[in-house]
Symmetry: C2
Subunit: 219 residues, 2 copies
DNA sequence: ATTTATCATAATTTCGAGATTATTGTATAT
DNA sequence: ATATACAATAATCTCGAAATTATGATAAAT
């Protein structure tokens, strides 16, 4: 069995779920023990992840986890708005009932978890499952856009976005306003109002655009 | 000196300038002779290029040059319109005179070459220089958008786009209409009319959207 | 004649070591 | 005390070969 694919996914998951410190050095000779493989294999994986933006690489100076950076988060947010709006509107136009059903289902699950977190106050044990549901909802929004390229780019941006946001022990990206935000996006999408849908997607992410020099284009 | 970076650039250039056949197999053991290095180094490079979309990879079945595919070209074109419009409008808003100057210069050079090709009839000897100028013009359009992320994504999409279009001995992407198209984009950008600029960028690339199921969003 | 099994060949994947380069610490000189 | 030169250490980069897996050819069986 070729394990490089597994190792790639494993390290990628670690990178996007706070498995490493921001700015931490990633030494192949050290990581090899974690995954029972050689340093060369780890090196290849890190090289690939650097191409995707989840790892920083400098020649002759090795690999590092990208450090937190406000400007970068703004750029990634801006990209999310752009790609997610476009993908969602395209999915709406294809007008599939199946898509509406899947979106409703994804929102139902996400909503359920968010209400539990809101009621409970402490999201500690639910962070992973919430993170997966949030991801699923946003992926579903664009799932029927008809462009594998767009979906791939969005996955990439989303992964980097999450990496920037993840901090140990904190409440991550979750705020109580999310419940209304997600519901508003769902309603707008089902209503068929493209401009409204774009606006709601923008509003949902707007809090990450504080101090932005990049103005919004579609709002 | 670490040559992997050089080899990466070399192979990338070959991939985007018709250096390989569409669908051709890329065997590390064979390519190593071309670049005076080991098969492992070539393998790493191909792995990285596969992450960027310029090489197809299947586990246990090696690397291949992506084959030509109408649907893919449409997706890439759609992405170019999306990213290039957004990046250009953002550059316009930053309103730099330096940007306008650079854009005018880039257009002047491109225009010069295109008129020579148009007059001469045969673009054979000018393909490479035209290709560089065209690339430069479009990169300059978005150069002051303020988002490294957007620029990086556009570079990637553009590279894949060109790879799809390149065919040996043919006139590549060049058509006589380009001269008017590029001039129209320049004029619109300098005039400050955002909607018009978006429209002209779309029109310029519209011929690659034949048979598109993805409708345009901003036009 | 077509299918299945087995074997030989070729390609891919993984590895650890050697070569190269950066980093750190120490000593000397200004 | 600061700066420079040099040596020791640690990291990165490159490589060729061994291990694994796919591919293709040949033979046996239905």
């Amino acid at each position: 069995m070729p394990e490089e694919i597994d190792i790639y996914q494993t390290i990628k998951t670690q990178l996007t779920s706070n498995g490493f410190e921001h700015g931490a050095k990633l030494r192949a000779e050290v990581l090899r023990d974690e995954y029972n493989c050689s340093a060369s294999t780890v090196r290849e994986v890190l090289f690939r992840l650097s191409t995707v933006g989840l790892v920083d690489f400098q020649e002759q100076r090795g690999f590092r986890v990208p450090k937190r950076c406000a400007a970068k988060l703004i750029e990634l947010t801006h990209m999310r708005v752009l790609l997610e709006s476009e993908g969602t509107v395209l999915s709406m136009r294809k007008g599939g009932v199946l898509w509406e059903a899947r979106l409703t289902a994804a929102h139902h699950q996400l909503s359920h978890i968010e209400k539990r977190i809101h009621a409970h106050g402490d999201p500690s044990g639910l962070i992973e499952i919430w993170s997966n549901s949030e991801n699923d909802f946003h992926q579903t929004l664009i799932s029927d856009c008809g462009s594998e390229t767009l979906k791939q780019m969005h996955r990439r941006v989303y992964a980097q976005f999450r990496q920037q946001l993840m901090v140990a022990d904190r409440q991550f990206d979750f705020i109580s306003g999310n419940i209304q935000h997600h519901a508003a996006i769902l309603d707008a999408a089902l209503s068929g109002d493209e401009a409204l849908t774009r606006a709601k997607i923008h509003d949902h992410l707007a809090r990450h655009l504080k101090g932005d020099t990049l103005a919004s284009t579609t709002g």
